[in-house]
């Protein structure tokens, strides 16, 4: 396993001559279609909320949202708070219900609280979102890098070392043998190459996490196929 891991890292380093290409698609530049007023503070913020929602896998009962840097300074004017709650409700950036997301959260029983943090983050637009219900909780740290594009920096305290250059998915699973192999088999079957992979767990036999950087985006059918595997709890895209 370690040898394979090392080889994957080497391969990743040589990809595209090692030059960082964070914005891969022309639609990262011309797009997204969104409700204003800010791509980083509204659309990007919403997307961080949406990743938390997707990783959690169901509508959370409560959410603690911590805002840092420029998010903390200017969230009110940009509707960053409204947007993150909209993301937690699984809205898209162009959903015009966004303006009413606080109201809708109340109707749907999502209890949210905001914490304005003084700490200076590595990136000016950082949010930490902790979501939960009676069955469990999940923590996501996301940064909005501009133009609506985001990066997920941490999941459940585990720091992700993603390049942001390639599409990436996160899988939450029960820590059992065979999970990694099963996921790899499905990707192999669909001829999708893994550029970089990290695995982690908090405690032996409990919750584990896989982060995979892929050479291409995978469609919903493949996402569903992975989700249907034994011991796989959640599958979510974190970089598209």
């Amino acid at each position: 396993m370690y040898i394979i891991y090392f080889m994957l890292i080497l391969k990743n380093m040589t990809y595209e001559g090692g030059i960082r290409v964070k914005f891969r698609s022309v639609f990262d530049i011309i797009g997204p279609i969104m409700i204003g007023p800010s791509s980083s503070h509204t659309a990007g913020a919403l997307r961080i909320g949406k990743v938390a929602r997707n990783l959690f896998g169901r509508r959370p009962k409560w959410a603690h949202i911590h805002l840092y840097g420029s998010f903390a300074e200017t969230y009110k004017g940009h509707g960053t708070d409204v947007a993150i709650v909209g993301g937690l409700l699984n809205f898209d950036t162009f959903d015009d219900r966004l303006i009413r997301s606080f109201e809708i959260a109340k109707e749907e029983g999502l209890d949210y609280a905001f914490f304005i943090e003084q700490g200076i983050p590595d990136h000016p637009n950082t949010a930490k979102i902790v979501v939960g219900d009676e069955l469990g909780e999940l923590e996501v740290v996301g940064i909005s890098v501009g133009g609506g594009k985001i990066e997920i920096a941490e999941i459940n305290g585990f720091k992700l070392k993603l390049t942001g250059e390639n599409p990436a998915i996160v899988i939450l699973n029960n820590d059992r043998f065979g999970c990694i192999a099963n996921v790899a088999n499905i990707l192999a079957k669909h001829e999708i190459n893994i550029g970089h992979m990290e695995v982690s767990r908090k405690e032996k036999g409990k919750l584990a996490l896989m982060v995979l950087e892929l050479d291409e985006n995978i469609n919903n059918e493949i996402m569903d196929e992975i989700h249907a595997l034994p011991n796989i709890l959640q599958v979510a895209r974190i970089v598209e």
Binding site: R24, I30, I35, G36, S38, T74, P124, V145
Partner: protein, 293 residues
């Protein structure tokens, strides 16, 4: 990856005798493995959103704070009187850029180009040039791919958000992108597109991001207005054969270095520049007192 710099882009376009928009479409096919038709259809959808936003803005909107709105309409009425100083095309571009950003400030639907705060420049200039040169729908879509190609280089070599690099990174990038796309649309060469972008961006270097009360309204909307004007004048200069002595990639790099030197107070935190003038602070206080979110 087909290109990483403006130089790559221009050389490739010249060598293969292709428009920059076509190279951008090919690269998108390569990266996303989507078909040409799918990619063009997606851009067509973005174009439609831009048209809707301009129409909405020209009918008059007001932001939730009450701070902005209605200037696009004022300018249209002024143009109709026919006694204006600048040309029709220039003022139309300014009016439509303002219209888009007024809709954005009012939490309406827009297409980020490259960001929401700078969403007015590209469509504003596109529709103004359209009114005079009557491009086909296909050519209008190509305009967006060309703008996207130049923005793609900036985003990957520098930055495009005000929080990271100030307004120069946001409206500066948008204006450079627009300028390059205008040149292609009216028949200029890829090299002239690069010079237009360089000339535009050079004139927006150092522009800080200092939103009053943290809102994407003042001075953002008027910066889009002047960004559109800047893009058109630079396009005209490049089409006349004027070249930027500093190559476009080096201007982009300079923008990156200037942005890195900008203090956090001038990068979208509303703690410097216009945001801390007595009037801005008064506005901020009023908005907070009014319970405005």
């Amino acid at each position: 990856m087909l290109f990483k710099t403006v130089r790559d882009l221009v050389e490739l376009a010249e060598k293969e005798n292709k428009k920059i928009s076509h190279i951008m479409i090919e690269q998108e096919m390569l990266v996303t493995k989507k078909s040409r038709e799918e990619i063009i259809a997606q851009m067509d959808k973005n174009l439609q959103i831009m048209e809707n936003a301009v129409q909405k803005g020209l009918s008059g909107v007001t932001s939730h704070s009450g701070l902005t709105g209605g200037d696009a309409v004022l300018l249209q009425k002024y143009i109709e009187k026919g006694n204006h100083l600048s040309g029709d095309l220039l003022l139309q571009a300014v009016s439509m850029a303002v219209a888009t950003n007024e809709v954005n400030a009012a939490m309406g639907m827009i297409c980020a180009t490259p960001t929401a705060g700078s969403a007015g420049v590209v469509p504003g200039t596109l529709f103004a040039v359209k009114n005079k040169f009557h491009p086909s729908r296909q050519e209008m879509i190509e305009f967006l791919f060309t703008a996207g190609a130049f923005g793609y280089v900036v985003a990957n070599n520098s930055f495009i958000s005000g929080a990271a690099g100030g307004c120069q990174a946001e409206v500066g990038s948008a204006s450079g992108m627009a300028s390059a796309a205008i040149v292609e649309m009216v028949g200029g060469t890829p090299r002239q597109s690069a010079h237009a972008m360089a000339i535009t961006l050079k004139n927006m270097l150092g522009l800080v991001c200092d939103p009053v009360a943290g809102l994407v309204e003042v001075p953002c909307i008027k910066r889009n207005a002047m960004g559109a004007a800047n893009a058109i004048v630079a396009a005209d200069m490049a089409l006349a054969g004027i070249e930027s002595k500093i190559p476009c990639d080096e201007v982009i790099e300079a923008m990156f270095r200037v942005g890195k030197m900008m203090p956090s107070s001038l990068r979208e935190t509303a703690q410097g520049g216009l945001a801390v003038t007595p009037t801005a602070l008064k506005i901020q206080k009023e908005i907070h007192a009014g319970g405005e979110k």
